[in-house]
């Protein structure tokens, strides 16, 4: 990846992080869009798995700083999602919108599963409701938003060149 492409990827990553801390609280939905997961997934397919794991870890740590009670859970989930996405990029990052959407959906759902499990706060019905109802809904919304953002940021990211 050249310097220009790296700069563009960093710019897109920063933009998504900004969206996470501005648009998401502004919407305030029960099933929020996770821009950080989109940012990590889009970054992960452009770097090696080790770097993707590191990006995911640092991003998750930043997110965890606002929820000290679940400190580390987000970092673990983001590490896992980032590294897995980087390993699977050959499969998913064919230039297909549906595949992209599915990639974001699975990524967000997997993140939620790892996060909730590592957090160890929910149990029983609450855990099932979260993982089988709210998480899929949030993942679907994240996938839809991710696809739209991917199409909008295509000139910047140029994923086919990676």
């Amino acid at each position: 990846m050249t310097w220009t492409r790296s700069a563009r990827a960093v710019l897109a990553f920063a933009l998504l992080v900004l969206l996470h801390y501005t648009v998401r609280p502004l919407l305030g939905w029960r099933t929020p869009v996770d821009f950080l997961v989109i940012a990590v997934l889009l970054s992960a397919v452009r770097v090696r798995p080790g770097a993707a794991a590191l990006i995911g870890f640092l991003t998750g740590l930043v997110a965890d700083s606002l929820t000290p009670s679940a400190f580390g859970a987000g970092a673990l989930a983001m590490t896992a999602v980032g590294a897995t996405a980087s390993w699977l990029k050959a499969v998913f990052f064919a230039d297909n919108v549906v595949l992209h959407g599915f990639f974001f959906f699975v990524g967000k759902w997997a993140f939620d599963i790892v996060y909730v499990t590592a957090e160890r706060r929910m149990h029983g019905v609450e855990l099932a409701t979260q993982l089988l109802l709210w998480s899929p809904l949030s993942a679907a919304l994240t996938a839809l938003t991710g696809v739209i953002l991917l199409l909008m940021l295509r000139p910047v990211l140029e994923p086919q060149a990676v």
Binding site: V17, L18, Y21, T22, V23, R24, P25, L26, L27, G28, R48, P49, G50, A51, A53, L54, G56, F57, G60, L61, V62, D64, S65, L66, P68, S69, A70, F71, G72, A73, A75, L76, T79, A80, A83, A118
Partner: protein, 381 residues
């Protein structure tokens, strides 16, 4: 090449394992350590993002609460609009209270209910009647001056004509008693001349001797000659002379002291009060009717102040009593009857404390057996 790929894979694996290990370690750290790391991040790297998030949440809260805020603003505006009316009414009632204090006896306060029908704008229904001692042809006054006269009386209500009524007439004089005449409502709205606009609520002082010239601003009061209105009640002030065909007397246009739209609470003078010569002093002691009205309002204010002072004193006395009680409970007093030591004087705030009701025991229903401290001192004979 294959070696480089293996090396890269090894580095990836090491990084992944390290990140996972650190993340897992973070989840099991003690809470204070986690909080310390999180706080460090919040103060440094995450600070700008946190600020953005707070602003976004604040914007969302503002957006969501805009309707409630608008509703509250409307309510406050509405209450603010009513506040001026309430303040005016409060001031008027206070002035009425002051007038009542000046009159001392022989009057009843009443609410003046205005009818909105055609031809009824010159009469008011008073909420007092013959049961309160009101009789026909008794004067109706307000703190500012004369309002009218009771026309018909029912047991619990009565009807009074205002000075705007065509049947209204009152014997009047200037405040310095230099000119006498009869006051009538000024029925024409044509005004005093071409340069002054017409006014609706004005009076005429007719029949003033030609030699008695009144300057604009001269206060006009009732003269007491007619027998209905006692002397000294303010009627209004002279605006100017009216040109009439009568060559032997002057007619003056008078601005009334009381505007009919402002009449809401009034005082009805009872018949025995109308013959009281001291009534004249209520307004006469001051030079003008305006200053008299101000004095009457000030009397109302002083009443309010006295009531407030009384309430503050009672609260202070209660607080002092409570403090004394708690102090007495906290520190057992020595038996001064045996030692002969004098008791310390009571604090000044505790001196005017009224007698307290004797506490009653809940179990026996009788007061507890306690010795009186003054009896112990031998103060009582």
């Amino acid at each position: 090449m294959a070696r480089a790929v293996r090396s890269g894979t090894r580095v990836d694996t090491v990084l992944l394992v390290a990140c996972c290990a650190m993340a897992l370690l973070a989840t099991v750290l003690p809470l204070n350590l986690r909080e310390a790391i999180a706080a460090g991040l919040r103060r440094t790297v995450v600070a700008p993002l946190l600020s953005l998030q707070q602003q976004a949440e604040r914007g969302r809260s503002a957006f969501l609460s805009r309707e409630a805020t608008t509703g509250r603003l409307d309510s406050v505006s509405l209450r603010n609009m009513q506040l001026a009316k309430l303040e005016a009414e409060n001031e008027r009632l206070r002035a009425l209270l002051g007038l009542g204090r000046q009159l001392e006896w022989g009057f009843v306060s009443a609410e003046a209910l205005r009818s909105r029908g055609i031809g009824e704008d010159n009469t008011v229904t008073l909420t007092v009647g013959s049961r309160a001692g009101v009789e026909s042809k008794t004067p109706v006054i307000a703190p500012e001056g004369l309002v009218g006269m009771v026309l018909t009386v029912d047991p619990s209500s009565s009807i009074a004509i205002l000075w705007t009524h065509t049947d209204f007439a009152a014997s009047a004089m200037s405040a310095d008693r230099s000119a006498y005449g009869i006051i009538y409502p000024h029925l024409s709205e044509s005004g005093r001349g071409e340069d002054t606009p017409p006014e609706r609520y004005l009076l005429e002082l007719r029949g003033v001797a030609f030699r008695s010239a009144l300057k604009p601003g001269t206060a006009i009061v009732t003269s007491g000659l007619g027998g209905v209105y006692p002397a000294g009640i303010p009627i209004g002030t002279v605006l100017g002379e009216l040109r009439t065909s009568e060559g032997w007397a002057r007619t003056y246009l008078v601005r009334p002291a009381v505007r009919p739209p402002d009449v809401s609470n009034v005082i009805v003078l009872l018949p025995r009060k109308t013959h009281d010569p001291s009534l004249d002093r209520v307004w006469r002691s001051t030079i003008s009717a305006d200053s008299a009205a101000r004095r009457i309002a000030a009397a109302g204010d002083s009443l309010a102040r006295r009531a407030a002072t009384d309430s503050v004193r009672s609260v202070e006395a209660a607080a002092a009593r409570l403090a004394g009680d708690s102090a007495a409970r906290a520190t057992p007093r020595p038996d001064t009857s045996r030692t002969g030591a004098s008791r310390p004087p009571a604090p000044p705030s505790a001196q005017p404390v009224p007698a307290r009701p004797t506490p009653v025991r809940a179990d026996t229903g009788r007061p507890p057996a306690t010795r009186r401290p003054d009896a112990a001192d031998g103060a009582r004979p």
